[in-house]
Amino acid sequence: MDSGKQSVISIKDLKMNYGSKEVLKGINLEIQGGEIIGYIGPNGAGKSTTLKILLGLINGYQGEIKLFGNDINVNPVEYKKKIGYVPETAQMYDTLSAREYLTFIGEIYGLKYELVDYKAKQLMKLFGIGDAYEARISSFSKGMKQKVLIISSLIHNPDILFFDEPLSGLDANSVMIFKEIITELAEQGKTIFYSSHIMDVVEKISNRIILIKDGVIVADGSFQELQAMSKEGSLEEIFNQLTGFNQYKEIAESFISVLKEG
């Protein structure tokens, strides 16, 4: 990687066990500002675990993790001010209204109430759900909840963004807005850590793709580099090849033949 720049995220020999099960078996990563990382891997490969460790949601890992040059265990509150997170499952205090929830989150990040209130309202409007600002989140549709989650992750203008399936439930127009936002943010030097199963999106937006399987990194590079490495066309095919999965046709055929039984 480019020398001279200081890594925004630096992970050295990260290992994690759940009981006797080894989930991460030594992850090494250096990520610079302005990168959009597509973090992909099969189910149970350790993607969410990596994210949760980086966010301080899980403890008990081995190895060293530095964000902005500081160990994440030393002053966790400081680094969390500069990150944003969209979790995979839409966990929110949904008995609150969008206004109550977003202003609360903003205030945790140290913003003044009036400012968050204004920003949150504007952002909701821009996402086309301004009318629902005073309504309870529990009454929202899946896509609306997702928009609130995205706003809550961005409202304090963080330097690193962790997205775990951020597009679930969003309509095509909102997806386009969101992709554009990501690209612009990266141009401003922000780091985006994007974890998803939707290969087409990852292929298009990421400028660096990291593929993990069974707790180790099996590929790391731009889409073009991955293409050259595996001689395959789309990211989906590269994913299949690198994860050693090539019998999808056979499985599909067996699946259908089971359906026909009886």
Binding site: L55, G56, L57, P76, V77, E78, K80, K81, I83, Y85, P87, Q91, M92, Y93, T95, L96, E100, T103, F104, I105, E107, I108, Y109, G110, F162
Partner: protein, 553 residues
């Protein structure tokens, strides 16, 4: 956002938190948010009440319920028995109420993992979060404790002076500490051996127990005061040392009665030191490990109860004709076992079905005559007709089946190729009867046969058939509703009360016919049985003939 009094109170002692290294403004903000969210939550005590309006603080109304109950507990003060025994009883009731409330209403707070998932990825340190959580629990627990013990505080002050109340207040703090400790250890133990789903089940049972207990207290209140007639053993026992109620009762004997026996002094010391030690242990040992165990709640439960499902499937094969009805039977049977909120509504009603006839019979017991004689006298009479109260309550239960926590899942009825909606309701009804009605009626029938003898067996059969008649009749007359399609929030209580009233009316009519049959001729009951049976058979054919258009959805 709304300002709460407790927050202003906390502002005055904010320096304590700041000294402990807690981010006070943040803690205050989290607490404020939690309090707002709580106002939008309905506590168990009020589960039978009408859904309160948004603005109204449902917690405050539940405090009145506790205050009311507490008044009765306080009445015990006036019973002329030794202080130590008296306080033992009072504290046992207070502790029981505090403990069950803690488990049923504040488990949600104690076991909240949502906080962790939402807040820990943000700049919040875990110390601040734990402090907010603890204050949140203590705030409620102490207010509830004060309401429940309000009666005792006042009555005690009247009878023994203010010293009594001051002593009780100090003890209440210690008792709350003990309760928080025990609940956490209890949950910790459950989570060590079982998964999060099991814990939720256990909490559900506590909620059911609390609802039943509250109702029984109302019913029995007059009777409880007769307890004074029962002699209470006042000798110091060595097992007192194991009873928390004895630890807390001892200081009253010591301070108010100046009883300075060694027994009392040791108990008093236990009552002070054990809660304090427990609180320190809680802070040092339980909290760190507890939080880790809580991660289990995030996981998915994987308990399979294959055995039970197999049995219900076999029964389903026997009692259902069409395949769709059979599958509906199995589905309903499984749903009824898993729907926690539904159980919270149904089980207390079943308990009432047991309790009401027994209470009415107990009211007949003549306490002046010998117990055996009065039981024998009742056993010879017609008091078993009180069972029609059970019949009425049990008949009203089936309408609960339209409610579900997962009411959104009801789209499947519309999507699936079901030609006759009656098949859905038939299957559901059969499963419901098998799951709740038959076991409940069987149990209380056995009790009644023990009391009244085998002679009432034909009557019990007639009652059961009449109960079926009432259930089918109410389906016939009522709206045709599918199972599990409605949110609890739409189940207004007024509706249900009217339904129960109708059931009582119908039961009354059939009970009257039953009595007339008995009085005419000993054999007439079989004619009544035959008639009821024929009506059931005919009604069954007539009722289950509706089309999709008649279905309420």
């Amino acid at each position: 956002m709304k300002e709460f009094k407790i927050l202003k109170l906390l502002d005055k002692i904010s320096w304590i938190f700041i000294k402990m290294g807690v981010d006070y403004p943040l803690m205050r903000r989290i607490l404020q948010l939690k309090l707002v969210m709580d106002e939008r939550r309905v506590p168990t005590v009020l589960v039978n009440e009408k859904k309160a309006s948004e603005k109204k603080n449902t917690f405050r109304s539940s405090l009145f319920v506790y205050l009311f109950m507490g008044a009765f507990i306080g009445g015990f003060i006036f019973i002329p028995i030794p202080m130590f025994s008296k306080m033992n009883i009072i504290i046992a009731m207070l502790l029981f109420m505090i403990m069950t409330t803690m488990i049923s209403d504040f488990s949600a707070v104690l076991l909240d993992v949502e906080d962790k998932n939402i807040l820990l990825s943000r700049p919040v340190d875990s110390k601040t979060l734990s402090a907010a959580k603890l204050i949140h629990i203590i705030n409620y627990l102490f207010r509830i404790t004060l309401s429940i013990s309000g009666g005792t505080l006042v009555c005690g002050a009247v009878l023994y002076g203010v010293l009594f109340s001051i002593l009780l207040l100090i003890e209440l703090v210690l008792m709350c500490g003990l309760v928080i400790f025990f609940t956490s250890v209890f949950y910790y133990a459950i989570l060590s051996f079982f998964n999060g789903e099991k814990l939720k089940d256990i909490i559900n049972y506590f909620q059911i127990a609390l609802t039943i207990f509250m109702t029984i207290i109302y019913q029995f209140i007059g009777r409880i005061y007769n307890l004074s007639a029962i002699s209470i053993d006042t000798k110091p026992n060595s097992w007192d040392f194991l009873l928390p109620t004895a630890w807390f009762a001892a200081p009253f004997s010591l301070v108010i009665e100046h009883n300075i026996s060694r027994h009392i002094i040791v108990l008093t010391l236990l009552g002070i030191f054990i809660p304090v030690i427990m609180m320190i242990l809680y802070q040092r040992l339980v909290i760190p490990h507890f939080e880790q165990r809580l991660n289990k709640l995030n996981g998915v439960g994987n308990t399979t109860r294959l055995g039970r499902n197999l049995l219900s499937n076999k029964v389903g094969q026997l009692v259902c004709k069409s395949a769709q009805e059979k599958s509906m039977f199995g589905f309903t049977y499984a749903m009824l076992g898993n729907e926690r909120k539904l159980k919270l509504r149904i089980y207390p009603m079943i308990a009432f079905a047991y309790i009401f006839p027994i209470i009415f019979i107990m009211n007949q017991i003549d306490f002046d005559a010998s117990f055996y004689d009065s039981i024998k006298e009742i056993g010879d009479g017609l008091n078993y007709f009180n069972l029609y109260y059970s019949v009425a309550i049990l008949s009203s239960l089936f309408s609960f089946i339209r409610l579900s926590e997962n009411y959104q899942g009801a789209w499947i009825y519309k999507v699936l190729p079901i030609d006759q909606p009656s098949k859905i309701i038939k299957g559901a009804l059969k499963a419901f009867i098998l799951k709740f009605i038959i076991p409940a009626f069987l149990f209380i029938s056995i009790l009644f046969v023990l009391l009244f003898g085998k002679r009432i067996l034909p009557d019990l059969f007639l009652m059961f058939v009449n109960m079926m008649l009432i259930i089918i009749l109410s389906i016939h007359m009522g709206k045709k509703e599918l199972p599990f399609y409605l949110d609890f929030q739409y189940a207004q209580n007024g509706n249900n009360a009217a339904r129960v009233l109708l059931m009582f009316l119908l039961s009354g009519i059939f009970a009257a016919a039953h009595i007339v049959a008995i009085l005419i001729h000993p054999m007439a009951i079989y004619i009544n049985l035959a008639i009821s049976f024929v009506i059931v058979a005919v009604l069954w054919q007539v009722t289950f003939r509706f089309s999709w258009k008649q279905i309420e959805m």
